[in-house]
C-alpha cells in the first residue's frame, strides 16, 4: 500500500463536509419513492390548506401564504426528521462512534449533513412552489430580490443551527426523540404561522414564537412578496437583524450542546447502546 499524504486543516474540513453531504444529495435521490413522497406529501397537505382558504372565500394572497408555508414545511421536516433524528440513527447503526473519533472532528460531519439536507430539500421546496403556483395561478412579484435571498439564507442558517442543537438533544433523549419530532409538527406550524400571518396570533405571542427561526423569516419574506397588504410583525430590517441574532445564538447553542454531548458520552459512556 503506497503512502498517501493526508490533507489537514481547512482542506480536510472541506473534503469531509463534501464527503458527508454526498449521501444526503446523491443517496437520498437514489430512492425514487422517497423523492416522490418527500415532494408529494407536503404538496398534498399544501393543496388541502389552499382549499380551506378557497372555502373561506379568501383573497388570492392567502393562497400564496399557504404555498410558501408548504415549501417551508419541507425544510422544517428535513431539519426535524433528518437532522435532529440523524444522530439517533447514527448511534443505532454504529456510525456515531466512528464520527466521534474522526481526526477532522464532528463539525464537518454536521456541516455536510446540513448542506446535503438543504440542497436536497431546496429541490423539493422548489417543486412545491412551482407546482402549487401553476395549479392555483399564483404569481409573485418580489420587490427586493437581494434582500429576500439574504433573509432566506440567514433564516436557513438559523434553522440548521437549531437542527444541530436538536441533534445532540435528541440523542440524549434517546427513544423519546421520535415523539419529540412529532410534537414539533402541528404546534410549530401553528406557532410560526406557516399558513397565516403570524401577527394574527397577537403581537406578543408572535414575538414569543419568533424563537423558532422560521417565524421571522416567513414574515419578512411575506412582507417583500405582498408589500402593503401583509400585516407585518416587525419591519423587515428589524426582522433581519433579529434573524442574524438567532442564527448566531443557535450556532453557539449548537456548539455548546455538541461539546456537552461529547463530554457526557465520554464520561458516562452513554453514547453506545451495544457493549
Amino acid at each position: 500500500m503506497s503512502e498517501i499524504a493526508r490533507a489537514r486543516g481547512l482542506r480536510r474540513v472541506v473534503r469531509a463536509t463534501l464527503g458527508r453531504a454526498y449521501p444526503r444529495i446523491i443517496g437520498a435521490n437514489r430512492e425514487r419513492s422517497w423523492l416522490f413522497y418527500d415532494t408529494v406529501l407536503p404538496l398534498l397537505g399544501t393543496i388541502a390548506f389552499v382549499y380551506v382558504y378557497k372555502a373561506l372565500g379568501a383573497p388570492d394572497r392567502f393562497v400564496g401564504y399557504v404555498i410558501m408555508g408548504g415549501a417551508t414545511m419541507a425544510f422544517w421536516m428535513n431539519v426535524m426528521w433528518n437532522m435532529a433524528a440523524q444522530f439517533y440513527w447514527d448511534k443505532q447503526g454504529g456510525n456515531l462512534e466512528l464520527y466521534m473519533v474522526l481526526p477532522c472532528g464532528i463539525v464537518p460531519i454536521l456541516l455536510g449533513m446540513s448542506i446535503g439536507g438543504f440542497v436536497g430539500t431546496l429541490v423539493r421546496a422548489a417543486a412545491i412552489i412551482v407546482i402549487g403556483s401553476v395549479l392555483f395561478h399564483v404569481t409573485y412579484a418580489i420587490t427586493q430580490l437581494p434582500l429576500f435571498l439574504l433573509i432566506f439564507a440567514v433564516g436557513i442558517i438559523a434553522l440548521y443551527g437549531l437542527g444541530v442543537t436538536f441533534a445532540s438533544v435528541f440523542l440524549m433523549w434517546g427513544r423519546e426523540a421520535w415523539h419529540m419530532a412529532e410534537l414539533f409538527m402541528e404546534p410549530v406550524f401553528l406557532a410560526s404561522g406557516f399558513y397565516f400571518p403570524v401577527r394574527a396570533l397577537g403581537f406578543w405571542v408572535g414575538m414569543g414564537t419568533s424563537i423558532i427561526p422560521l417565524t421571522l423569516a416567513l414574515d419578512a419574506m411575506r412582507q417583500l412578496l405582498f408589500p402593503g397588504s401583509h400585516p407585518a410583525l416587525l419591519p423587515v430590517r428589524a426582522e433581519l437583524g433579529a434573524l442574524v441574532g438567532l442564527a448566531v445564538m443557535f450556532m453557539l447553542v449548537a456548539r455548546w450542546s455538541l461539546r456537552k454531548m461529547e463530554y457526557l458520552a465520554r464520561r458516562e459512556g452513554r453514547l453506545s447502546l451495544r457493549f
Binding site: 419513492s33 379568501a58 404546534p187 397565516f196
Partner: protein, 291 residues
C-alpha cells in the same frame, strides 16, 4: 388429565371472534403507551389542538361574515380524522412492524387463525387510541371555540350509527392499505402516509368538497369517509352547518354511507385474499426490507 382444547371443534364464527379479541388485546398492549403523560400530551392534546387552531386562525385572518359555521366544520373534521390516521395508517404500520421489526408476522400467519380477524382486532385497538384525541378536540371546540354542539341538538342515534359505519369504513380502508403493504417492501413505510394525505385532501376533512374541481368531487363521493364526515357533522352540529354534500338529505347521507361501507368491506376482503395469495406465491409474507 390435561383438558382437551380443540380449536378445530369450535364454530368458525366463535374462532373469528376469539382471534379478533386476541388481535385487539395485543394491539392494545402495544398501543397503550399512549396513556404515558408525555405521549398523551403529544398525541392527544398538542397535535390535534395545534391542527384545529391553525384552521381557526386561518378563519380569523379572513373573517368573513357568515363564516362562523366553518368553525364547527373544522372541529368535527379534526376530531374524526385521528380515527382515520390510526385505524388506517396505524393498522398498516402494525402489519409492517410485525413483519419487519418484531418479526412475528410469520408466526401469526402459520397459526390456525384468521389473519383478517387478527388485523381487524389490531385496527380496532388502534382506533380506540384515537378516542382521547377526538374527545379533547370536541371539548375544546365546544367550550373554548363556542361551537354550537348542545346535548339538545345532537342527534344521538344518527351520530352513533354514522360512527359505527365510519369505523367499519376506516377498517376496510385499513385492510386495503395493508393488502398493498403486504406486496411492497421498500416504500411500505411511506405508502400509508401518502394514502392518508390524499384522503385528507379529497374527503372533506377540513373543507367542504364543494370547492374541489368536479373530477375530485366525483372521486370524493366514491369514498365512504366523505359520507362519514358529513354524517358526523350533521349528527353533532345543528342545521346551520356548512355542508360537503348539500344536495342530499340526512337519511340519504346515512344510506350512502352504509352502502359504500358495505362495498368497501367486500372490496377489502377480496383485496386481502388476493394479496395474501400473491404474497405466498412470491414468498414475501415475511420479507424484511433493508432499512
Amino acid at each position: 388429565m390435561p383438558t382437551q382444547v380443540s380449536v378445530r371443534s369450535q364454530s368458525s364464527l366463535s374462532r373469528w371472534w376469539r382471534t379478533l379479541r386476541v388481535g385487539y388485546w395485543l394491539g392494545w398492549q402495544i398501543e397503550s403507551n399512549w396513556t404515558d403523560p408525555l405521549l398523551f400530551f403529544i398525541y392527544s392534546i398538542a397535535r390535534p389542538l395545534g391542527g384545529v387552531l391553525i384552521l381557526v386562525f386561518m378563519y380569523h385572518v379572513v373573517a368573513r361574515a357568515g363564516g362562523a359555521a366553518m368553525l364547527g366544520f373544522f372541529v368535527v373534521g379534526t376530531a374524526c380524522w385521528p380515527f382515520v390516521v390510526r385505524g388506517m395508517m396505524g393498522t398498516a404500520y402494525s402489519l409492517i412492524s410485525d413483519r419487519e421489526h418484531w418479526r412475528t408476522l410469520r408466526y401469526v400467519y402459520i397459526s390456525p387463525i384468521s389473519l383478517r380477524a387478527y388485523l381487524v382486532g389490531r385496527a380496532l385497538a388502534q382506533a380506540t387510541s384515537a378516542v382521547a384525541a377526538a374527545a379533547v378536540t370536541l371539548v375544546f371546540g365546544r367550550w373554548v371555540l363556542g361551537v354550537p354542539m348542545h346535548l339538545a341538538t345532537i342527534n344521538a342515534p344518527y351520530t352513533a350509527a354514522a360512527f359505527v359505519l365510519g369505523i367499519g369504513a376506516v377498517i376496510a380502508l385499513g385492510l386495503i392499505v395493508v393488502s398493498a403493504a403486504v406486496l411492497i417492501s421498500g416504500e411500505a413505510w411511506r405508502m400509508p402516509e401518502g394514502v392518508g394525505a390524499a384522503l385528507y385532501l379529497v374527503c372533506g376533512a377540513i373543507f367542504p368538497v364543494t370547492v374541489l374541481p368536479p373530477a375530485l368531487q366525483a372521486l370524493s363521493q366514491a369514498i365512504p369517509l366523505t359520507w362519514w364526515l358529513e354524517a358526523m357533522r350533521r349528527g353533532l352540529l345543528g342545521p346551520a352547518v356548512v355542508r360537503s354534500l348539500p344536495q342530499f338529505t340526512d337519511p340519504t347521507v346515512l344510506g350512502f354511507l352504509a352502502m359504500l361501507t358495505a362495498l368497501w368491506v367486500a372490496a377489502a376482503l377480496v383485496a386481502f385474499t388476493f394479496a395474501e395469495r400473491r404474497a405466498r406465491q412470491l414468498g414475501i409474507l415475511d420479507r424484511e426490507s433493508m432499512y
